[in-house]
Symmetry: D2
Subunit: 362 residues, 4 copies
């Protein structure tokens, strides 16, 4: 379903070329003033721009159509609506299945009734309201000293410095959040761009990985088993189109270590219990341990490429060759990163609030 959340329940709707897309956010507390500049900046960061992206100018003139009054949340459902402006009729050939798109699965699932235009409900455009949600949650978490921050950890074979390899300060994280192309090692940016432009030149595309840190989250959030921190985060991360892998802490690489290398020894630091390493990524038994929560996400290369591709015409049931017209993003990692950040902010808030409810009893 297109809804999620027990405390802050969200409901996503819309298709790429329908009337509008939007998001209903339920149960936000009353009295919050939205930080419009933060929202604008978040939208700006996700927006396609420069020669690394498609030419389609997506402006996102969002409206808040409910739940906001006198510059404050009312406590009742907040609804974000983003009208689709670029919905002109075109020559669509939905019968020519685009490889590694949802064309085929949507057609089967929805018995040929799916809105295929621009990917419909499956379009990356649907992540725009999630970016707004993320900005709202970010404001709330920031007040509590919690920062979510990500960088482009790799594009194809080129890698940035990992969070694990340097001393991460709040300043570094905040700086990354200011950038629309966040990297730790500033010299890697040019290499990434060259890699992307090279793919573009070849009518091809590239993917990459995103590394995220949740800084300042106290120990004790999450649950054993089905609502573990990993479970909730992975559930939401895998809902972002193009994500094919999620790993926490050392992730898959931890399987190459001995237990004595992998274990995070407890130490005392200024009278606080910490761990000397953070291979667990800040989580043990599904619960935050007070260290930064870290994870990595794999983003597949953009499926839309201009190169001719073999595929099937599902109407005639014949094999054919597809040549996608128009301009295509040679990479989306630098855009998806802002969605990953957004949905992580939401996930953290939801995780915390699930636990906080019962503290009333205390």
């Amino acid at each position: 379903m297109s809804s999620f959340g027990q405390v802050i329940h969200i409901n996503l709707f819309g298709e790429s070329h329908g009337e509008s897309i939007g998001l209903v956010i339920n149960n936000l507390p009353a009295g919050l003033t939205l930080d419009k500049k933060r929202i604008e900046h978040a939208l700006f960061k996700r927006r396609p721009k420069s020669n690394l992206s498609t030419a389609r100018q997506e402006k996102d003139p969002y409206k808040i159509v409910s739940g906001y009054f006198n510059d404050k949340t009312t406590g009742t459902p907040l609804t974000i609506l983003i009208p689709n402006e670029d919905t002109r009729s075109r020559d669509y050939t939905p019968e020519i299945l685009r490889p590694s798109h949802a064309d085929f699965t949507a057609k089967v699932k929805y018995n040929d009734s799916n809105d295929y235009r621009g990917g419909g409900h499956f379009s990356g455009r649907l992540t725009t309201p999630i970016v707004i949600l993320g900005a709202i949650c970010e404001s709330i978490l920031e007040e509590k000293g919690i920062i979510v921050s990500s960088h482009i950890a790799s594009i194809k074979d080129i890698s940035d410095t990992s969070f694990a390899d340097i001393d991460i300060t709040e300043d570094i994280l905040k700086k990354l959040n200011l950038s629309d192309f966040p990297v730790v090692n500033s010299t890697v940016k040019a290499k990434y761009e060259a890699q992307i432009l090279d793919a573009k030149h070849n009518l091809d595309s590239v993917g990459g990985t995103i590394e995220t840190m949740i800084h300042g989250i106290p120990a004790g959030y999450g649950y054993p088993f089905f609502d573990s921190v990993e479970s909730i985060l992975a559930h939401l991360l895998f809902s972002v189109p193009a994500v094919k892998g999620v790993e926490f802490g050392k992730g898959f690489a931890i399987t190459k270590l001995f237990g004595s290398e992998a274990n995070d020894s407890f130490i005392l630091e200024n009278g606080q219990i910490k761990t000397s390493s953070n291979n667990s990524g800040g989580i043990q038994g599904g619960i935050s341990n007070g260290m930064p929560i870290t994870f990595k996400v794999a983003i597949k290369p953009t499926a839309s490429i201009a190169k001719p591709q073999k595929t099937v015409n599902i109407e005639t049931m014949e094999e054919t060759t597809l040549e996608l017209k128009g301009r295509h993003d040679p990479a989306i990692v630098h855009r998806v990163i802002h969605v990953i950040n957004a949905i992580t902010n939401y996930a953290v808030l939801e995780l915390i609030l699930r636990t906080e409810g019962t503290k009333w009893i205390g």
Copy 2:
């Protein structure tokens, strides 16, 4: 929380050294006869045995205390109860935090009131009823031609042949399901065992990866966004203790490919639409595409090792050294694999049933 599921709702309970552990399974249809042999075999496979595991003899004499009458499910909640036999009092020192265990996080989360004995609710023992659940779901899926099967893809640096590299037949998958130490390439088993015993000899432990295939699942299951196939599977997989990463299809490796290499071309095979490669792991836009669903899971090295480890005594707030007594599993990958298989069977059934409900409308 320790509950999950909208259609087949489950509720896990118990602590390693409490009275009993168990699972309530809600909404199973009435009239199913449980395959007791299959359940026994599943329990056998997960059970520690031989020199690769601890000496603790876990028998699992489970009882069904509700929802089963005249050898058939009644349709009301089916409750599995497994009494804990080995609950004798011991010298526990919960104040000495075991590295990379949930000792610290449980203590913080539950304000010192957690049942620390044997890991309490966090114990791997809690996965026993999940294995029974898995066997029940497996029977149901088998009737529909759906097979879930896994193999130990790697232990530390040694790897088995990947599902991606050979022709997978139903026979291979069924054979893997018969084995308590499933590998595709039979010669790798001895190497795995040597690796594990070597770790054991050094009072250390190793981890590994598990590769799973869901064979026979038709196209059209799952949802875009928050209930994508990946989201539901990852949610449940990450609830299994020791899992640190989940990747679908080509996973993280897909980020090293160009789009033209990563995309799965549609082809016709005996009049059916298939894809020539399966880098997407059988999922597009969060929905099954009719190809086998494949994923890999990272299992960290067993956290309990006999080697002395640095840690903190949380009572005295002093750093100290921990030497775990008793015998410890030098690896659990070959046991966790059966839990991964079990929870995947459950996840697939839940995914299918969520979609099937609305078909009544027709």
Copy 3:
């Protein structure tokens, strides 16, 4: 929260004088053509009209902004949006609490940040999209031979003939559904209207009861305990503003009978098991028994009356007298009845689909 439903999940949003109100309907099957005439008729029936209602002309020019393409549902969230036209600024005095309105509770709950204009999210206007939802569900149920139909069972002291006292045919039920002021005994309408106009004349208001029948629902739907037919129906019925009581079958009157009078004897009718009476209202053990499901709902008199009323000014914390300006509905039973019908149609569909999911296993 303003959301409900596991299979057909809905999310209501909006305030009476905000930008728009609306409803997201998740998980409707793809390929349904909406019956626009039926929707228009349902909206017409709920709309205030004639001298029995306020002068405010509520047109409801709804838009479907997502989930509908080429005159068919797409299977992704269907979003209904109703812009608020009459949102001109007025002299609101939210500090003067209107008795038996949500002014006070909303103010407390939402820390003074609620949108008080026209009742905000609490406004009866929010039931408009529910009426559209009801019309959509009605089409689906009609195809399956299930009809939901209601009549105004009483207004103040005057009563209509009860469903229990006559032979109910499909024809009678369908005829009731055509009427915007549905009564079984046509002569009672004039008396009801006189009663309402009399209240109006006295600057006062009246309430009444609504009796509903769900005809054609097969035996076997619903669950014991927490998802009983009564639980799900009552949950939704009590979400309709102004509802103060819900009773099934004979309801409160059953407490005046002996068991031997109250019990519904099983009989055979054309080889089918029926009951000779229907005091249980078609439900036993929380599950439909194949007889019509019947219930009654109590609607309180409209809280807004022109008569002066004692109340409190919450700003000055002084007692005061409130004289509501404008024209006020002297009764809303004849409008709420269409909301009750609508939400019952939705409840029935949700109840059925919850059960149908597991039939796949069969």
Copy 4:
């Protein structure tokens, strides 16, 4: 389903003559010491006793098999298990459908696989663990100054003094909670008993109504629409077997009043905003207003009566006469009242905790 709750999630299981019945309570905070005496007293009150009930001696030797350690809740699922002792084989004739029991509906719903012995999962015995849950929640609410209390408002035609007609003090409510046969006007007890014994003498049964008050609940709990206080309470109340009606405040009788009579005027009392009457039952717009929440519940006459009844043999499909053997409760109102109280305590706690979660943001 047999589960409920978002914050304190519960899962009921078991059949009357199966191995055990029980309840899993998820998400109770850690560190609570259960008040065993209160639980014992609650069980005592619900237990059949004296000549008003059947001879079957139900002892309820419950066990807590998980979630409790060192006399404190651990924060992980608390599981209550009650073994069924009286499970001897008897001559059951499930094919003779007992009128107004769930025999028929269970048989249809569960395709003949239901456990029919003693009503199976539909048995009133299943309410025993709910009584324990209620006692646990009662302790928590009492600490916060919230008291839930009920009295037998009527049995057949005889009525007790209503809460609405006298000044209710905490003392009165506490005294009612001490009684296993709670009435406001002590002289009515003898009349109730005579009424019940008279029915018993005639091999018949009687029903009645229960009136409940939630005292001390602050304003601001509950939600507009789908999670209104009425919706959550009614959902749970209607899950109790034998409940056929629920009304809040003045309930159905409010439909006989003019708006000017029905409205609750706001007044100031010691600087606090109160209402002069409480026809709304402490709820406006679905949200508590700080006045006591009051409601009434209709309990049908016990369906099991010794008098011969007409029914159908579903095997032979012939009409027949049923003469129930053994002794039968001529009334259960005085037992169900303790279940109503219990489930209300749970409902109130759940309602409060849903709201409290978001206060963290504040």
